[in-house]
């Protein structure tokens, strides 16, 4: 189970409304910790949503995206029960993914 | 207005006194820089006042900051600034004590009744 990704995908008419909250520090690399050392940049760069093997949404993120990032969008052509694959990769190469079902 | 006429005479006297004071201050300033002893007595006074504020559960964060600054300056041998910071700390600690004691009654003024 992807511990870092929370997805809510709800069909509203013909549009699937998708909200995602991801647990990630999104460190900018410009902040110092209590001891005065710079906390290195550590942020999600790309977040991809695929439905029936087609990318329905792709986010390119910089260091200005908030900690525990959130994004909301909608797309047509989905049906209740369809699967929506969500995956991210960060600047350290770490990744996580989750398959959610459209309610 | 009556003593105005005497005023002129007194001003000369005043000038002499002021002059003398200034001279002695300058001498005092340069001749005897704050010694470590001065600093230590001031530090002790500040710390005991801050301890009293602690007993009254009403210390200020800036008091501790001034104490730390005093100790830091003392470590680098700068007893003038160490003495000054210790005196600041004492003043702050005393103010926090006055605040605690006066508020014992004054808090009621703001109470919603």
């Amino acid at each position: 189970m992807a511990a870092s990704i929370r997805v809510r995908a709800i069909l509203n008419g013909e549009i699937a409304e998708v909200q995602t909250l991801i647990q990630h520090p999104m460190d900018t690399g410009l902040v110092k910790d209590a001891k005065g050392e710079v906390i290195p940049a550590h942020y999600i760069q790309q977040l991809t949503f695929t439905h029936k093997d087609k990318t329905v949404f792709l986010a390119d993120w910089g260091t200005a995206v908030s900690k525990d990032p959130y994004v909301k969008f909608g797309f047509k052509g989905a049906a209740k029960g369809d699967e929506l694959k969500v995956s991210w990769v960060d600047n350290k190469g770490a990744t996580d993914s989750l398959t959610a079902t459209i309610q | 207005m009556r003593n105005f006429s005497r005023g002129i005479a007194t001003t000369n006297v005043m000038k002499k006194i002021v002059f003398a004071l200034m001279v002695s201050a300058v001498c005092a300033g340069s001749a005897r820089a704050a010694s470590e002893a001065d600093y230590l007595t001031a530090l002790a006074a500040a710390e005991s006042a801050n301890k009293e504020a602690g007993r009254l559960r009403n210390q200020w964060t800036v008091t501790q900051a001034a104490l730390n600054a005093a100790k830091k300056a003392a470590e680098s041998g700068n007893f003038d600034s160490a003495l000054k910071s210790a005196q600041d700390a004492e003043a702050l600690a005393k103010a926090s004590i006055v605040q605690a004691t006066s508020e014992k009654q004054r808090w009621k003024d703001m109470e919603i009744r």
Binding site: Q46, T55, F57, A59, D60, G62, A64, S66, Y70, F73 | -
Partner: protein, 164 residues
């Protein structure tokens, strides 16, 4: 199997032996990387655009063209951010066949905050939470029908609390 790049590459090929395939691959990529703008087709992360400091350079690096204001873009952002770390910013547009939406925070250390690819069939609207270093213009860019449109709003940002 001729190495097409200069003498240096030749020498490297013989030395590395095992690295042969990787180098050739690298050689090809370098050759084909004509000035193509990542925002529109392949899924490459627009690293260069995110490294630009000011808005103008970031937009040029990402879209390679100027933008014109459009009243068909609704940019929703607070007047005074409750906290610079979490500023809710959303955009919707009635412009036709939108392919990309991006957010610029001009006064941030790096102007480009986020960029989104909007494939066919996806609603041209995005909501997200961005960080803002200080009071700044927020620019929402919408690429529609190969042209670039924008909406701008100033968001005031300051710290909270009474002192400490």
């Amino acid at each position: 199997m001729t190495a097409s790049s200069g003498p240096l590459a030749h020498r490297r090929l013989f030395l590395k032996g095992a690295g042969l395939v990787a180098l050739i691959g690298l050689g090809n990529a370098v050759l084909h990387a004509a000035p193509v703008f990542a925002a529109t087709n392949d899924n490459k992360y627009p690293d260069d655009a995110f490294r630009q400091k000011n808005a103008g350079d970031a937009i040029k690096a990402l879209y390679g063209r100027d933008h014109e204001a459009s009243d068909k873009i609704k940019l929703d952002a607070p007047e005074i951010a409750e906290n610079g770390g979490v500023v809710p910013i959303a955009v919707t547009t009635t412009l036709p066949n939108v392919t990309s939406i991006s957010f610029i925070v001009s006064e941030n250390p790096f102007a480009l905050a986020a960029s989104y690819r909007i494939p066919e069939g996806t609603v041209p609207a995005v909501a997200n939470r961005l960080k803002m270093a200080k009071t700044s213009n927020v620019i929402a860019l919408v690429e529609s029908g190969g042209k670039l449109y924008s909406a701008t709003k100033e968001v005031k940002v300051t710290v909270g609390g009474c002192g400490g």
